[in-house]
């Protein structure tokens, strides 16, 4: 067919043109700025200046730690929720709806909700108090209790952003023909094995997408951390904001942005490679 060669490019054209104008063009300016020192010389001066800041390394490690904690749990939880939803007979769209509710909640709002739960006189303390476990308000989210802060942020993030993965996975699972599950079942696979050997591999494209998007979003985590952990947990995106708006140093911010970008791309490549399609042989 004659147009098969050009067709993919035609299909990509609108999106590419769009991204060119609305992303690449402004991005290019920012990228140049990231590598232009205060005196206009090209180089890594801006990176040096942000790395010099004592919050730089904590921001990187915190971001990575949060990602490492949040994403795997979310993935597992989303898979569990998706399987659950799929295996329901009645009312599954209602259950799915409930599961996706957090999707409609902005990160800032999610932070506020969780703050209301976890703060000193929040619902959690009230609950523990009602159970008679504590006498009065206990402060959980304090600067000298980093693990608690992490747990709080992780809990809020899991609550807020698991739905993103869930929805992608549910849509993907809907496309898996049920006969593969049946065949596996007949050949002795229990629920768990079916899940591992049929669902997971056949869900590969969706998993890949969900994972990539989630990891990228996780590198951009900011608002929830700011609300729950205040200034105690510097994260990359927060520092980008800080440099851009509070410190009025757009070069430093640009450098931070490049780091976020670099990390995202590195992880994306890793995920693409880990979850690559092995069934496509050499076809024409």
């Amino acid at each position: 067919m004659n147009n098969v060669r050009t067709l993919p490019y035609l299909l990509l054209l609108p999106a590419t043109a769009f991204l060119l104008v609305f992303f690449l063009l402004p991005f290019f300016g920012v990228a140049v700025e990231a590598f232009t020192g205060p005196g206009g010389e090209l180089g890594f001066a801006n990176f040096q200046s942000i790395a010099f800041d004592w919050k730089f390394w904590p921001a990187i490690t915190n971001t990575l730690t949060l990602t490492a904690l949040v994403v795997p749990i979310q993935l597992a939880l989303a898979l569990a929720m998706a399987s659950l939803v799929m295996s329901l007979k009645a009312g599954r769209d209602v259950v799915l709806y409930i599961f996706t509710i957090p999707l409609g909640i902005s990160d800032l709002a999610a932070g506020i909700v969780w703050l209301a739960i976890l703060e000193q006189n929040g619902f959690l303390n009230g609950f523990l108090h009602a159970l008679g476990l504590i006498d009065g308000p206990q402060n959980l989210l304090t600067y000298n209790n980093l693990p608690a802060l992490f747990v709080a942020v992780v809990a809020a993030e899991i609550w807020r952003a698991t739905a993103i993965i869930l929805v992608i996975l549910v849509a993907g699972m809907g496309l898996i023909p049920k006969e593969y599950h049946e065949a596996a079942e007949v050949f002795g696979a229990g629920r768990w094995t079916r899940f591992r050997k049929i669902t997971l591999p056949l869900l590969r494209p969706s998993l890949q997408t969900a994972l990539i998007l989630r990891v990228i979003l996780s590198f951009e985590v900011f608002a929830v951390v700011a609300v729950l952990a205040g200034s105690n947990l510097p994260v990359l995106m927060g520092e980008t904001f800080e440099w851009q708006f509070n410190l009025q140093d757009s070069k430093g911010a640009a450098a931070y942005a490049m780091i976020v970008l670099g990390l995202s791309i590195a992880f994306t490549v890793a995920i693409l490679w880990l979850l690559r399609d092995r069934t496509k042989g050499e076809t024409a």
Binding site: P177, Y180, A183
Partner: protein, 351 residues
């Protein structure tokens, strides 16, 4: 012991009843072939035995144990799906090994058994391919190999050879029969190929509209169909039916007189196409079409307004448009009640 006992099993899909009150016993190590028109419920029955479909009512036991509440994996079965269900994300090898891995067979044994099953199905050259790289028939054979490899006590096969050419099918069929007998597997085999059915079956169950109408050895089903449906369904071309006028111990069919069973009610004569010869006297009619069938020819004759098909040797002297008389060979005529379609017992041979 892996006999299968199906007791008044029914299956409804919404308002549509796919299976009505099925009662069927398949003996241990028996090779049961399931025959029936498209949409009559064969696949549904297999799926119920496998545990992939819930019963609307009834019971299923395998080896004396009620299984209708057991999941498929605990029923000791393997199945070849009508649409293969070859896992697209696994190589042929992994597909065939799947059931074995579930049984925690050792790696060496797996290699061994997979290779054997694949060789048997002539797909050993493709062990490293994925399903998307196989032809239809190759995929089907993978599905069969996968089921054979686990050496189940019960094997359910849903048209497992339908996409294979005749030669390969002949070969596969023979190998299947041999290997399943050897491994003492109880088999239910759905096919629409009657030659296959005849040559494989210990018994044949003929289904019609969600009911089992006859379950008997192949020759019985062929020679003494339990009703018109079976007679018309089995045999290619099928049995001919002609209305008869009864008078005492005789009946008259299109002017030809034959001995007939006594009793009331109107009768129909059933005669297989290959059971007639050209003769002086017989069923008189006019030849409509002559079709070559390789070794024979299929002759369609208009007998008193009814279509009569006969399979005649290639040498037989029939021409389109000519008159012809066809005489049934002795003992090949069957009688059916015209209303119910049920066979009428003849000369000691019960249906």
């Amino acid at each position: 012991m892996a006999d299968i006992v199906i007791k008044s099993v029914a299956k409804r899909f919404g308002s549509h009843t796919a299976l009505h009150d099925i009662d069927l016993t398949i003996k241990d190590q028996e090779f049961m072939v399931l025959l029936g028109a498209s949409g009559c419920g064969k696949t549904t029955l297999l799926r119920i035995i496998a545990g992939l479909e819930t019963l609307s009512s009834g019971e299923v036991s395998i080896g004396g144990r009620r299984v209708d509440h057991l999941p498929p994996r605990e029923r000791g079965i393997a199945m070849v799906f009508q649409n293969y269900a070859v896992f697209p994300h696994m190589t042929v090898f992994e597909n065939i090994a799947f059931g074995l891995r579930m049984k925690k067979v050792s790696e060496a044994d797996i290699k061994d058994k997979v290779t054997r099953a694949a060789t048997l199905m002539h797909i050993d050259p493709y062990l490293e391919r994925y399903s998307a790289q196989l032809s239809g028939g190759q995929r089907q054979r993978v599905a069969v190999a996968r089921a054979l490899a686990v050496e189940p006590s019960v094997l359910l096969m849903d048209e497992p050879l339908s996409n294979l050419d005749a030669l390969l099918r002949l070969e596969m069929r023979a190998e299947l029969k041999g290997i399943l007998a050897e491994s003492k597997t109880t088999t239910i085999y759905v096919t629409h190929d009657q030659v296959e059915a005849m040559s494989l079956a210990d018994r044949i169950s003929v289904m019609n509209g969600g009911r089992i109408v006859q379950a008997a050895p192949a020759t019985t089903v062929y020679a003494n169909p339990a009703d018109r449906f079976v007679g018309g369904f089995i045999g290619n071309p099928p049995m001919n039916f002609l209305p008869a006028k009864r008078s005492g111990n005789e009946a008259e069919v299109a002017g030809y007189r034959l001995a007939a069973p006594a009793g009331g009610g109107s009768l129909e004569l059933g005669i297989r196409p290959e059971d007639m010869d050209i003769a002086e006297d017989g069923l008189h009619g006019k030849v409509r079409v002559v079709e070559p069938l390789g070794p024979h020819k299929l002759v369609s004759v208009d007998v008193d307004g009814h279509l009569l098909r006969a399979v005649l040797p290639n040498e037989a002297d029939v021409k389109s448009g000519a008159a012809v008389a066809l005489a049934p060979r002795p003992g090949t005529v069957r009688w059916f009640e015209a209303e119910s379609g049920k066979a009428v017992a003849t000369s000691g041979v019960a249906a």
